[in-house]
């Protein structure tokens, strides 16, 4: 079931070996030894967000410039459940996943048929609407600019998640599950279909596939990831900042995914890690870190449009090709 076909797509974007999945998780186990635990936790959370985003942008070829809507809605749904309903950890997370999925169904039903740029803009419009609604008109519930505070510390079966390392490994377990699921999705017929669309939508359509439906499902699955990441973000912060809904959150996500390499399996993880690490490190040296991060981003687009992992994969493929021809 795994390595059966030899079509062009598979050659271009070879499916990750299982070793890659396990290896990535293995490396992540020791991440807190290298960088600060809160940063490592944040990298995992954003990586989950990124995996879902990559599924949509990288594998399906649909750009949503309003993914903050799903991330923020997940964060707020979980936060509201924790704060007002005293919900259990998992109930809150499920709430944080369901609400964005419903929103994705709504936005998808309305707009997924539109051409790329229009879909990106419509997503953006909805995300900004949510942001401004949470800021002013709905501030009685969302606490507006203050963000949602007074979220109780979470516990997993009487095991407190207030301490940094247990929280990290809790998030890591979920990240591992999501990493594995993403891998399975990409191996599945559905995953193959996604990639077929991205490569040539017209041909896939001509083959009798309902491209709209597949894009729709891709969007909803992506919202699942974003909502999960949002909910975990709430557990991690103990607080929901309004900025989770702001369009710069979407923008940052796009930057991270491109940096890592869209349409590559490890791209989002690497992109998120490198971005947050760079930002964290450069901001220790100069407050003008945005200049460096922005310039690095521009340079990557010009020099390595495939991103970090895209370039790495290309090099590996070229190497294999050379070896095979020898």
């Amino acid at each position: 079931m795994v390595d059966n076909s030899t079509n062009t797509i598979q050659q271009l974007h070879a499916p990750p070996k299982p070793l890659v999945v396990y290896g990535a998780i293995f490396v992540l186990l020791f991440l807190p030894l290298v960088i600060s635990t809160p940063l490592a936790t944040e990298i995992l959370i954003w990586a989950i967000f990124g995996m879902g985003f990559n599924l949509l942008l990288g594998y399906t070829g649909v750009l949503s410039f309003g993914h903050a809507a799903y991330f923020g809605l997940g964060a707020y749904s979980a936060g509201l459940a924790f704060r007002y309903l005293d919900a259990h950890l998992f109930v809150g997370i499920v709430a944080g996943i369901l609400a964005p999925m419903i929103l994705a169904c709504f936005i998808g039903a309305l707009a997924i048929r539109k051409r790329g740029v229009y879909f990106a803009m419509i997503s953006l419009a909805f995300a900004q609407m949510l942001y401004f609604l949470a800021l002013s008109p709905l501030k009685e519930i969302t606490r507006g600019e203050d963000g949602l505070t007074h979220i109780p510390a979470m516990a997993l079966f009487s095991f407190s998640l207030g301490k940094p390392l247990p929280l990290y490994y809790f998030v890591l377990v979920i990240t591992a599950i999501m990493l594995y699921s993403t891998w399975r999705i990409l191996q599945s017929p559905f995953g193959k279909l996604l990639q077929a669309f991205r490569e040539n939508e017209e041909r896939a359509k001509a083959c009798g596939y309902n491209t709209t439906l597949v894009k729709f499902f891709s969007l909803v699955i992506s919202a699942f990831y974003a909502g999960l990441a949002g909910a975990l973000n709430t557990v991690y912060l103990g607080y929901v900042p309004l900025t989770t809904l702001f369009w710069l959150t979407s923008g940052t996500m796009v930057m991270m995914t491109i940096l890592g390499g869209k349409g590559t399996f490890l791209g989002p993880l690497v992109g998120v890690g490198v971005f947050l690490f760079l930002q964290n490190t450069i901001s220790l040296i100069t407050p003008r870190w945005e200049l460096f991060v922005g310039s690095i981003f521009v340079a990557i687009i010009l020099l390595f449009p495939g991103g970090i992992m895209g370039t790495v994969e290309e090099k590996i493929a070229a190497y294999r090709m050379r070896r095979a021809s020898k």
């Binding site: 396990y22 203050d146 900042p241 220790l284």
Partner: protein, 419 residues
């Protein structure tokens, strides 16, 4: 398929080994802080984002205070190790920074932050982790349920600012007022303060408009205000919002024949506004550099700051300077660097004279009781940093509510805000 299964197995074995080592990592006791004779103070400032000017001043003033103490030999023989981080004016980043400072860097004390909302979140974090936190911001964190013994607030709180400015306005200018309020908690707090004072002093509130944060066109609101014909306009906003609002008020000629009160303003806002901030615009600040003519402490602080950084400190810088000093004074007086509860208790009754007259930290809610300064602009006559003149200094005790009222947010909680 054989191959794949093999890879699965290898992967799982690797994972297992990894998990065991990770479990050991969690179980291992944290390395004892073996460092002798140092205390660690970590601060967060918005060095990027809309208030980077203020964040920079906070950071600089903190550095000045730490350097001064270290030059004197530190606190109780302990050298002060100070580190700072950029909180980017974003809640999630600020919390990450706070976690890093406390959990990774093992800071004994944390401080800083500018945004009220972020400070509330950090305050909550400080309460959970029992880390003393000296807030430089203008938030309501000393009120009601937000309060805990580990947080202390060093900027004038919103209500007090509103009470100070409104008192001056109703006494000196007129009774009929119209307000422009930034639509978030901080703005609402200011408005509540104004409305309460208005009831007390027989003011007449003609109306209010709520304006979302980040609004750049205020002219559309002024039509409504002109029709109401107030004696003066109140601005409950800050930064770029205030800049745009006053610029456009001046465009309509309002700064020529009407007074405008900014409940809180800032030196850089006046600078940014240039000639539009004229003598009819009166703004409140907790510190303005011209206080150096009045207080020797202010002179020492301002001159040193000017010499070092080439510009006078903002109120936020002064606040950071005082907060940092107070933290170390409390440690010195408490005679301990490790008993954090005792340090906070000591701070809570400290009387001191630093940059203004004599001030104190009020015991019940750990807020700095300080005066509030009103300045009027100099318009086109402004030169360099000579941007405004002080018109009044309202004493601190007259603009705070009693401890009991503060804990219940009285009397402001009874104010009905307009729709």
């Amino acid at each position: 398929m054989q191959h794949v299964r093999f890879l699965h197995k290898t992967g799982l074995v690797m994972l297992l080994i990894g998990m065991i080592s990770a479990a050991l990592l969690v179980a291992a006791p944290a390395p004892a802080s073996a460092q002798q004779k140092t205390i660690k103070y970590g601060t967060m400032h918005p060095l990027t984002g809309a208030y980077a000017v203020l964040g920079q001043d906070q950071m600089r003033a903190t550095q000045m205070a730490v350097d001064e103490w270290n030059a004197k030999g530190g606190v109780l023989g302990h050298k002060i190790v100070w580190i700072y981080r950029d909180d980017e004016l974003k809640g999630n980043v600020a919390i990450r920074r706070a976690k890093e400072l406390v959990e990774e860097e093992k800071c004994d004390f944390i401080g800083g932050t500018l945004s009220g909302s972020i400070s509330l979140a950090i305050n909550e974090f400080a309460c959970k982790t029992k880390t003393p936190y000296v807030a430089y911001c203008m938030s309501d964190m000393v009120l009601g349920s937000d309060q805990c013994e580990y947080g202390a607030a060093f900027m004038v709180i919103p209500y007090s600012a509103a009470l100070a400015v409104s008192k001056y306005a109703f006494e000196n200018v007129g009774k009929k007022w119209f307000s422009i309020t930034a639509d978030y908690r901080w703005g609402h707090s200011l408005l509540e303060g104004w409305m309460w004072q208005s009831e007390q002093m027989g003011g007449q509130h003609l109306g209010n408009v709520y304006v979302p944060l980040g609004t750049t066109d205020f002219s559309t609101y002024f039509a409504k205000i002109l029709a109401a014909k107030p004696d003066f306009i109140v601005m409950n906003n800050l930064g770029a919002d205030q800049t745009a609002a006053i610029k456009q008020a001046s465009e309509l000629g309002l700064t020529k024949n009407m007074k405008i009160f900014c409940t809180k303003t800032a030196q850089h806002t006046i600078k940014e506004l240039g000639s539009a901030y004229n003598e009819n615009v009166i703004g409140g600040m907790s510190f303005y550099w011209k206080l150096r003519d009045k207080y020797p402490g202010a002179k020492k602080f301002v001159d040193k700051f000017m010499e070092k950084y080439g510009a006078p400190p903002e109120q936020d810088g002064e606040c950071g300077y005082v907060a940092t000093n107070l933290l170390f004074m409390a440690i010195e007086k408490a005679g301990t660097v490790s008993d954090k509860k005792k340090i906070m208790d000591t701070m809570a009754d400290l009387k001191y004279t630093l940059t203004k007259g004599q001030e104190y930290v009020r015991g019940c809610d750990q807020q700095r009781i300080q005066s509030y300064v009103l300045v009027k602009g100099k318009g086109a006559k402004a030169k360099g940093w000579d941007l405004a003149d002080i018109v009044a200094e309202i004493p601190g005790d007259s603009i705070v509510m009693s401890c009991e009222d503060n804990a219940k947010k009285l009397p402001f909680v009874n104010i009905k805000l307009p729709k």
